[in-house]
């Protein structure tokens, strides 16, 4: 079978000097390794993620990209038998250091999951849930944040007349945007997205992608994706993983047009994976 080169549309690269100044490094992985029991899922990973840019994690299934994403809000803590060595620093603070408030961490590092998972509550209550947990009770304040979050997630116009209807009545794409609205309602600094569009049709996917490009003005976004075109379209930086190792990390432009490693080139051009 002949390999047809992917016709990837890569956005114009931001000059390196400008990036360093406007987008300082926010997240640092330092010699991070992770084991599920005896099986090592991440091997000695070190690199940095820049503020208010979109960074994509790509790689074949089982390469550790989702595991790495879940290290950032310590969702791996929920799995029995996970062991971690090395450091993950956010704004200089080691989030695995003893005494770190995981609750506070998760408020600052929001997450959107692969399968949209709205609570079986009303659209309004889905967003108000985390706010109420933080002690926000005043209706006017809740109303305001709910509206703002839904507007940011480009969902307000579609649902403003049925805020108190069940979130489960929304379409798949709307549900996923509601999950994004829910995540940004608590005003995180970082937004993690684990294949947020993989279960959506192309139109809903395009809406999510537009939204991501919109949101990166305010949030540092880390996205796991299986979709090469998606990584090329929306990300500024791309990290390619294979079998738990970071193979290459660079600007998306370079990863997709002039990768340093043969493995990366093979993967992004579709020769394997």
């Amino acid at each position: 079978m002949a390999v047809t080169p992917l016709n990837l549309k890569v956005r114009a690269e931001v000059p390196a000097g400008e990036i360093a100044a406007d987008h300082p490094e926010l997240i640092t992985f330092e010699r991070l390794s992770l084991w599920y029991g005896a099986a090592q899922a991440l091997q000695d990973i070190s690199f940095g993620i820049r503020e208010r840019l979109v960074t994509a994690f790509i790689g074949p299934s089982g390469c550790g990209k989702s595991t790495l994403l879940r290290c950032l809000n310590r969702m791996n803590d929920l799995i029995d038998g996970v062991r971690i060595t090395g450091q993950v620093r956010i704004a200089g603070q080691d989030i695995y250091a003893p005494g770190v408030d995981v609750i506070e961490l998760r408020r600052r590092v929001g997450m959107v999951f692969q399968r949209s998972n709205p609570f079986p509550k009303s659209i309004y209550d889905n967003i108000a849930y985390a706010l109420r947990l933080q002690g926000i009770r005043r209706k006017a304040e809740l109303d305001e944040i709910v509206e703002k979050s839904l507007r940011s997630a480009a969902l307000w116009e579609e649902v403003k007349d049925r805020l108190h209807a069940s979130a489960l009545g929304l379409s798949g794409g709307q549900q996923q945007r509601l999950c994004i609205a829910r995540a940004i309602a608590v005003q995180p600094d970082i937004l993690l997205m684990d294949e947020p569009a993989s279960a959506l049709d192309p139109i809903a996917t395009a809406k999510i992608e537009d939204l991501i490009l919109d949101l990166k003005r305010d949030y540092t976004i880390v996205i796991v994706t299986h979709n090469m075109q998606q990584a090329a379209r929306i990300s500024d930086y791309t990290a390619f993983f294979y079998l738990g190792e970071l193979i290459e990390y660079d600007t998306t432009t370079r990863i997709f047009t002039n990768p340093a490693r043969k493995q990366t080139e093979d993967y992004v051009t579709g020769r394997f994976g």
Partner: protein
């Protein structure tokens, strides 16, 4: 290459053959179902046919006469009260403990850990213990050990036991222990049916585990918990053995006024009527009537629980 699709060229589909094995199996399963229905119809028909005869409001709500074997004077009002009281009390005891255990097993305990496996098999074994054993356990543990100690602590020197004797509270607690597995298993099943994604979503928003359980998990599990309590009520309402030594009274002149009082009971009364009556033929209408009332009460308690469950389900679906 794809074959060209031309069904017409391949001739008609033909006529389906008669398959004897399939026909036989359908008949067999159908017959089994019919047998169950027939047995149920015979039992209910027999009871209602005989029990309906001497049936009146006076009988259901009337006070029990000292001569409880005389159809003209018998009433089962105190027994209705006693049975309803012990079943409702039991539900109040068994739900919190059962639900808490199920939450621990599904939400907190490591699923593969030794302790978890031990607790699970203990719960399953509890379900297999004969009910008379629970009755003896209630007598030994609740009445002698717990009740006796309470008396020693609260009323030292008092020769007449207050807590250390058969009582409504001990019968209810014994039944609660007996129905614990039912509630635990039903609750666990409904907890496991909740998508893990919902818990993850809540935790990822900075909710604590407890907040996630109370606000996301438990509301979803409520219908399953109510199913568990329906099963527990059905199981407990007709039981005699566990209350035989722990609280049921042969005859009482007045209704129980405190948790430490004994009570008259419908199921126990059925047992009394069928074993202690001087003239079985004469008191047979009372026996049937009592059974009808017992069935009716169990049914009514179930209907209440089912109505609550339906309301909860509707609320979960519509939300507000």
């Amino acid at each position: 290459m794809n074959r060209p699709i031309n069904l017409a060229a391949r001739g008609p589909f033909g006529v389906g053959r008669f398959e004897p094995v399939s026909f036989f199996c359908t008949g067999l399963t159908g017959a089994a179902t019919f047998l169950i229905l027939a047995i149920l119809a015979v039992i209910l028909g027999n009871i209602i046919w005989h029990g309906g005869a001497g049936f009146s409001l006076r009988f259901i709500f009337g006070s029990a006469d000292r001569d409880m074997f005389d159809p003209a004077r018998a009433g089962v009002g105190p027994m209705v009260f006693g049975t309803a009281a012990r079943v409702i009390l039991m539900t109040l005891f068994v739900l919190p403990v059962g639900v808490a255990t199920a939450i621990y097993l599904t939400e907190y305990a490591r699923s593969g850990a030794l302790l978890t496996r031990v607790i699970r098999s203990a719960v399953n074994n509890l379900a297999g213990v004969p009910s008379i054993v629970f009755g003896l356990f209630g007598l030994g543990f609740f009445i002698s050990a717990v009740g006796g100690s309470l008396d020693g602590l609260l009323y030292p020197g008092n020769p007449k036991p207050v807590w250390g004797k058969p009582a409504l509270i001990w019968a209810s607690l014994t039944l609660a222990v007996m129905t614990l597995p039912v509630v635990i298993v039903a609750t666990e099943e409904s907890l496991r049916a909740i998508p893990p994604g919902l818990r993850e979503a809540s935790l990822a928003l900075g909710a604590t585990k407890l907040q996630t359980i109370l606000r996301i998990v438990l509301p979803q599990a409520l219908p399953g918990i109510l199913t568990g309590s329906i099963l527990a009520v059905s199981r407990a309402a007709g039981e005699v053995a566990p209350i035989l030594f722990t609280g049921a009274a042969y005859y009482m002149a007045s209704l129980p006024r405190a948790l430490t009082d004994q009570f008259m009971d419908l199921a126990y009364h059925v047992f009394v009527l069928s074993t202690q009556a001087p003239d079985v033929d004469k008191s047979r209408p009372i026996l049937y009537g009592t059974v009808v009332v017992l069935l009716g009460l169990t049914f009514a308690l179930n209907v209440v629980a089912i109505l609550i469950r339906t309301r909860v389900r509707r609320r979960l679906r519509q939300l507000g």
